[in-house]
């Protein structure tokens, strides 16, 4: 796929991840014990042979830069390819954050023009899936599409998901953004698009000149009848993370072996930054059930239905249930953590009890001690 380059949007201005994205972009949100959300986008791109990648950030991008470094962990430290990170200050002269994808793309037109590739894959980074884009590319060419819109099947559990309806040939007839959650299943946009580069740049220039910044609202929904928009349905496991609830449920969904098989042992390998943690050590008193546990943990307490990131300590007598404990969390003796998400470097002191509800997991902010 030498003919496709990619732009990854590291932040989604519509995101409702609140406490979890105070210190980071959605792209660098830790996921499933040892990953960051952007690992999935990067690994899928690399696995499909797309190696010229620009990452557009809006704010709080230092954790992302720290994670990506030179892209070596994805084999992207190449002479003729690799990662270009565009921090907000390079995007416009007024040093404001960009207002939408149109403005972001306008700002990096130099990067887009410079690439030899004829096509561009635009992707948000809040999606965890295992997908080879070669089929998407083939479908795009076969249909003669202006834009191929990747979709997945699910419930619009949060607002602001884009619902897509298409004819039998896959041509999109309508797409709109929901304003309220819905219990009916739909095909919804993943915010991943394949377009021809020249065409994209013309559209971006035209829209930017007229003060339009929103790719989805100003281009796709408004011109659905005029443009040849085709959907490409992604079957299998897809996680879209855009609020605390979806973050929680999608992490725990990976306790299901079938979901893990699809996400990690599907078409491509999912790479992440290597941290050289030692394997996890289970003590004499450990009782662990139905949990995903990264390397570098030391567990001597009870862990059930939970996801533990690297370097987590669960002391003797401590209980962790239905929770997500991020890197270097420390659960001290006889502490109880239930229905919680603790961010990096959180300590729960002896005999403290933290508990949320399944529908509303409590979040402990990065670095705090309870």
């Amino acid at each position: 796929m030498n003919n496709v380059m990619s732009v990854i949007f590291a932040s989604d201005q519509e995101s409702k991840l609140n406490e979890l994205t105070i210190h980071r972009t959605a792209a660098s949100l830790p996921f499933c014990g040892r990953y960051r959300l952007i690992d999935f986008a990067l690994s899928n791109l690399v696995g499909s042979g797309i190696t010229n990648i620009g990452i557009v950030t809006r704010s709080n991008y230092s954790s992302l830069m720290d994670h990506i470094r030179m892209g070596r962990d994805w084999d992207l430290n190449r002479k003729n390819a690799g990662i270009s990170v565009f921090p907000p200050f390079v995007l416009n002269a007024s040093r404001e954050m960009y207002k939408g994808k149109i403005e972001a793309l306008y700002s990096i037109h130099g990067f887009l023009e410079h690439g030899d590739e004829e096509y561009v894959l635009l992707t948000n980074s809040n999606v965890a899936m295992n997908l080879n884009f070669e089929e998407v590319f083939a479908a795009h060419l076969a249909k003669g599409a202006d834009v191929t819109v990747l979709t997945y099947r699910g419930y619009p559990s949060t607002s602001r998901r884009m619902i897509v309806s298409a004819d039998d040939d896959g041509r999109i007839e309508d797409l709109y953004i929901t304003e309220k959650p819905d219990t009916k299943e739909h095909w919804m946009a993943l915010n991943v698009y394949l377009v021809k580069k020249d065409w994209l740049m013309e559209v971006v220039e035209y829209q930017y000149a007229r003060g339009n910044f929103d790719w989805e609202k100003d281009v796709l929904t408004k011109q659905v009848k005029d443009l040849k928009l085709y959907e490409y349905r992604v079957e299998g496991y897809v996680a879209v993370i855009d609020d605390i609830k979806s973050y929680y449920t999608e992490n725990l969904a990976l306790l299901d072996v079938e979901n893990r098989e699809k996400l990690f042992y599907g078409e491509g390998v999912i790479y992440t930054k290597v941290k050289d943690s030692v394997p996890t050590v289970y003590g004499q008193n450990a009782t662990v059930k139905n949990s995903l546990i990264a390397d570098g943990c030391v567990i001597d307490g009870v862990v059930e239905n939970s996801v533990l990131f690297r370097g987590v300590k669960v002391a003797k007598g401590a209980v962790v249930k239905n929770s997500i404990i991020m890197e270097h969390g420390e659960i001290c003796e006889r502490a109880v953590v239930n229905y919680a998400i603790t961010d990096k470097n959180v300590t729960i002191r002896e005999e403290r009890t933290i508990s949320g509800y399944e529908s509303y997991p409590v979040v402990i902010v990065k670095g705090k001690t309870v």
């Binding site: 499933c32 014990g33 990690f264 030692v278 289970y282 008193n285």
Partner: protein, 399 residues
């Protein structure tokens, strides 16, 4: 121009050993490539020690089953040994002019690579072996070597007197200088065993290697020839006493013991570390380990990608290994990618890479003590399948 490549100290890692005593575990791989401790290979220890000691130029001397080791080392990136100048080099024997030959002995292996070492014009050469589990700061040893203005410094490890006759023993004066070396003495005079780790002044060693090669009677071995010759010539040989965990993992029993030591807080082995003091390994890119609702895990070390549905006690489960429902894994080492099917028992055993233990099979037996210093460890070779309901006896090796 040569000075631009100059390194103070170059490490030469002897990784050519066939490791015959490890049987089926080294049938297809060199001993240093044997997996250890859930996510490592034996060679990760000396390589990590090098980079953690500030040595960034390492020659790895291979000749036996080198493919897996070559692939594992690659460009050295996992150990931060991918360098513009220096880094890690895999050095197999090669043809020189009309003649070419295998590495005949440890000293001959270095002799054959004199040109490689000369390229870096080093003051010192550190000679290491690739079959020991230990963490050591070679820089402290080099400092000791320089302070004593020694010609050669040999790392030694205190062994119990009753075991001393199994080692090469350095007899030293009170100040640590060596006056005598005895290979496996029947009546040992001391307990300072050579660890096979040497620092030499390169210009001197270079001369001795050339002389040794010219001697047709020589076995071309450091312990048997070079060290005794240097002693006889009055060279300044010093011992460097290493305190910490060190284990030769040359036998199945000792390899198993070293793995079990990881579970023993008092063993002194410590693979942890932070910042710039870790043991590095090539990563296998697998998701976190999964411990199911039906699993019972206590006193165990488990690595990425492992899936556990049965009972695991006093054991090491390596990355990508699977332990089925109703299994009992006790006192065992399950190597990467091995599959233990439902209801199987694996007791005091080593199950090789990508091996399969069929449903209900029984491998090994629980033991309370070593017999004559050797544990009766059952071994299932890499890629081997134990049939459903099959049996592998203690100390039996299949594959």
């Amino acid at each position: 121009m040569k000075q631009r490549n100059k390194k103070e100290c170059v490490a030469m890692l002897l990784a050519g050993g066939q490791g015959t005593r490890l049987g089926v575990l080294t049938r297809d791989v060199a001993k240093p490539a044997v997996p250890f401790g859930g996510k490592y290979r034996i060679i990760d220890f000396p390589l990590s020690n090098c980079i953690n000691s500030g040595i960034d130029t390492v020659g790895v001397l291979t000749q036996y089953q080198p493919f897996e080791l070559n692939q594992y080392i690659g460009n050295g990136q996992p150990w931060d040994l991918d360098r513009l100048s220096g880094g890690v080099y895999v050095l197999p024997p090669y043809m020189r002019g009309a003649a070419g030959e295998w590495y005949k002995g440890t000293a001959n292996a270095i002799y054959q690579n004199i040109a490689f070492i000369d390229r870096f014009n080093p003051e010192y050469v550190l000679v290491l072996s690739g079959d020991h589990i230990y963490r050591m700061d070679y820089d402290a040893m080099l400092h000791h070597h320089k302070k004593n203005e020694a010609d050669c410094t040999i790392a030694v490890f205190d062994v119990p007197m009753e075991e001393a006759s199994r080692f090469g023993i350095m007899n030293t004066n009170e100040d640590g200088s060596v006056y005598e070396f005895e290979e496996k003495p029947k009546k040992p005079k001391g307990t300072k065993a050579s660890m096979g780790i040497y620092i030499f002044n390169w210009s001197l060693l270079r001369r001795y290697l050339i002389e040794d090669e010219a001697d047709p009677a020589s076995k071309n071995d450091f312990g048997k020839n070079i060290i005794p010759k240097m002693l006889a010539d009055g060279c300044k040989l010093w011992s460097y006493r290493f305190e910490g965990y060190w284990k030769d993992v040359g036998t199945i029993s000792s390899l198993w013991e070293a793995n079990m030591d990881l579970l023993d807080e008092n063993s002194g082995i410590n693979i942890g570390g932070d910042g710039s003091n870790r043991i590095y390994a090539r990563n296998s890119a697998e998701p976190p380990q999964y411990i199911s609702s039906s699993a019972t895990v206590s006193h165990a070390i488990i690595s990425e990608g492992a899936t556990v549905y049965g009972e695991v006690r006093d054991s090491i489960i390596s990355h990508g290994a699977h332990v089925g429902a109703g299994c009992r894994i006790i006192g065992s080492v399950i190597l990467p990618g091995a599959y233990v099917a439902n209801g199987a028992e694996v007791l005091y055993s080593i199950v090789g890479e990508n091996a399969t233990v069929g449903a209900g099979a029984v491998v090994g037996a629980v033991q309370t003590a070593a017999v004559g210093g050797e544990w009766q460890i059952a071994v299932v070779g890499p890629g081997v399948k134990v049939p459903d309901g099959g049996k592998v006896n203690p100390a039996e090796m299949i594959g």
